[in-house]
Amino acid sequence: MSILIRFLQDPKKLNHISLKEWRTVFLEAKKSNLFGRLAFLIEKENINIPSKIEWHFESYKKQSAQQRQQAIREFKELNIALNSFDGQYALLKGSAYIAHNFDFSFGRRFSDIDILVNKDELGAIELRLRVAGWLRGQIEDYDDKYYREWMHEIPPLHHKDRQTVLDVHHNILPKTNQRHFSANEFNFISIDIEQVGRVKTLAYEDMFIHSAVHLFTESEFNNGLRDIVDLDSLLLELEALDRDIVNRIIERAIKLNVSNYVYYAFRYTYLIMNNRLACYGLEQLSFAAPKHLYVFDLVFINVFKPDVAHLKSFKVSLAKLVLYWRGHLLRMPLRLLIPHLCRKAYMRIAESFDKKSTINDEQLP
């Protein structure tokens, strides 16, 4: 069992571990992108940490504080770029958690800012973002076409001066997913941020549903454990704002026809993080359980753990492989998928023999 998960459930246990165990916690947390979460919990629960390792947490906190500040600045830039016309956008995922100032957003690292826009306005919004300095990165024509034809988001945009990355979604699921529904069906709420103004995010219950749907249609789970920890924290935090949140989530899940994904979200948030609200939700949603639940348990419990050498096993590799194919099949039918994966494999091999692929000068002091 992962030592990290044990401590995320009950940080007080960290008070009594050796430097050697700290090393393991440390590695698991870094590899799972949960170092910030750990740092936050240590501070919140007033855990004693050995002076030898203090600097790691101190340093990480500075980095995530800077990232948070940067994100808030980007919200402001987005407001300026997009508010001049009727087009509206909503912050998704990590950005939304920051906008709501949720506890668990402190220390949570993210690589890009995700926004949701209206598909009909996508062209106009892209144009305005370009004027504001958000440019397309280098991308193969094939990838660009693939994104635009099948995906629910456009290829990531990079800001020319600030190097921040923007992911523009115009939908929730790829249109080939059989549970595909229009993003217009989501409910939104607005929130005022100091020095930024008003921003929009999904309504609380839809925020949870969006995260759940995203996680359980993925094909790669590098941040799988982090995402489960997010769902766990999000549920607890939302409950403080709305005592009836679990019932509201279930109601919405049924209406949007994604109760299966929400079922998984409850199940693994309960099984991995021991979340009591998820346990309650699971009972209410029992009708949405899949036929061969033990298969799902076998694969998901094996991927929702830190991706470190000492926890690797045959089962983990198998689970990853199964979920890779499941994710791709959910995204598109085989007749589209096979040519796509062949094409990608070819591109990867060609790239690996490209002589130019060498160390990046600027990364090295």
């Binding site: 430097l19 101190e58 990480y60």
Partner: protein, 284 residues
């Protein structure tokens, strides 16, 4: 497979590799560093390994992996040791934000540190190599660490990374110098690492305050020219050569302002080590 641990100033490193060349170089250049005690915490656990793919036989490569994370693409196998050194720099520069970190050489005399910030190629490694074997203590040839807590500088005393012509210049200037093998065709050209002086390594845990900033520039055949530099100019050059100013924000601004209110900044043009040594000795 072999493993070595050593404490480099405030950081504990562990290096694991099966590559014999890496082992040889570590034994040669890091011999005087103190190993990390068994019960102590390893800050960076590094593997230098060959990627397990078919290219192993075609065009062998090497990977730098720290805490099971691979920050760079692989390099040709014979770059293994320089890659380790660059990777160790990366570990410090991208993680140790309890320091304000500059791309600079730093040397100490009379318990005062001169920081020499400069772009690659300006000759800061060459100058710090020459001086650290002539009466100065080596803090670092690449990374100057300014503590945000006590405003002191922290030494690393790591091997000095010399490039191209400076390898032979230093070989001639310091006859007993111990070098790593010379590696050609890296992204920095031809490189070799110079073993740090024993005294510098022995004093790696002694921190000292800043004496001044000196922006060095090697100018062929030029007499030594040390000129005071305006605060504005110094400030912008310092930010330009800093790795984490953007992360520390206000904290870094306040620290740099503090230094520039209390110490001077100079530009230095030189071509002769003895003249440069004399000029810098006046400043401490």
């Amino acid at each position: 497979m072999f493993s070595r641990t050593f404490a480099l100033g405030p950081f504990n490193f562990k290096i694991n590799s099966q590559i014999i060349k890496v082992k040889t170089e570590l034994e040669r250049l890091y011999k005087d560093f103190v190993p990390v005690a068994d019960a102590d915490f390893i800050d960076f656990d590094i593997n230098i390994t060959q990627p397990p793919n078919i290219r192993r036989w075609l065009r062998p490569q090497v990977d730098f992996i720290v805490d099971e994370f691979k920050p760079f693409k692989p390099l040709p196998l014979n770059h293994a040791y320089p890659m380790l050194e660059w990777g160790m720099n990366w570990c410090i520069a991208s993680n140790a934000h309890h320091f304000f970190i500059m791309h600079a050489a730093a040397i100490e005399k009379n318990n005062k540190v001169i920081v020499l910030p400069a772009q690659s190629g300006a000759g800061k490694s060459t100058l710090s190599a020459a001086l650290s074997y002539n009466g100065w203590r080596l803090f670092s040839d690449e990374l100057a660490l300014f503590s945000l807590k006590n405003k002191l500088l922290y030494p690393l005393a790591r091997p000095i990374n010399l490039k191209n012509d400076s390898i032979d210049i230093i070989r001639n200037y310091i006859p007993n110098a111990v070098f790593s093998e010379v590696v050609h065709d890296t992204h920095k050209g031809t490189v070799a690492l110079l073993k740090p002086p024993l005294d510098s390594v022995k004093q790696v845990n002694i921190e000292n305050p800043l004496a001044c900033f000196v922006f060095p520039k090697y100018v062929e055949n030029s007499p030594v020219r040390l000129k005071a530099c305006s605060v504005e100019q110094a400030f912008s050059s310092i930010i330009e050569q800093s790795f984490n100013y953007h992360i520390l924000g206000k904290e870094a601004f306040e620290l740099v302002s503090y230094y520039l209110r209390n110490v001077k900044a100079y530009t230095l043009e030189y071509s002769d080590f003895i003249q440069a040594n004399d000029a810098l000795s006046e400043l401490v």
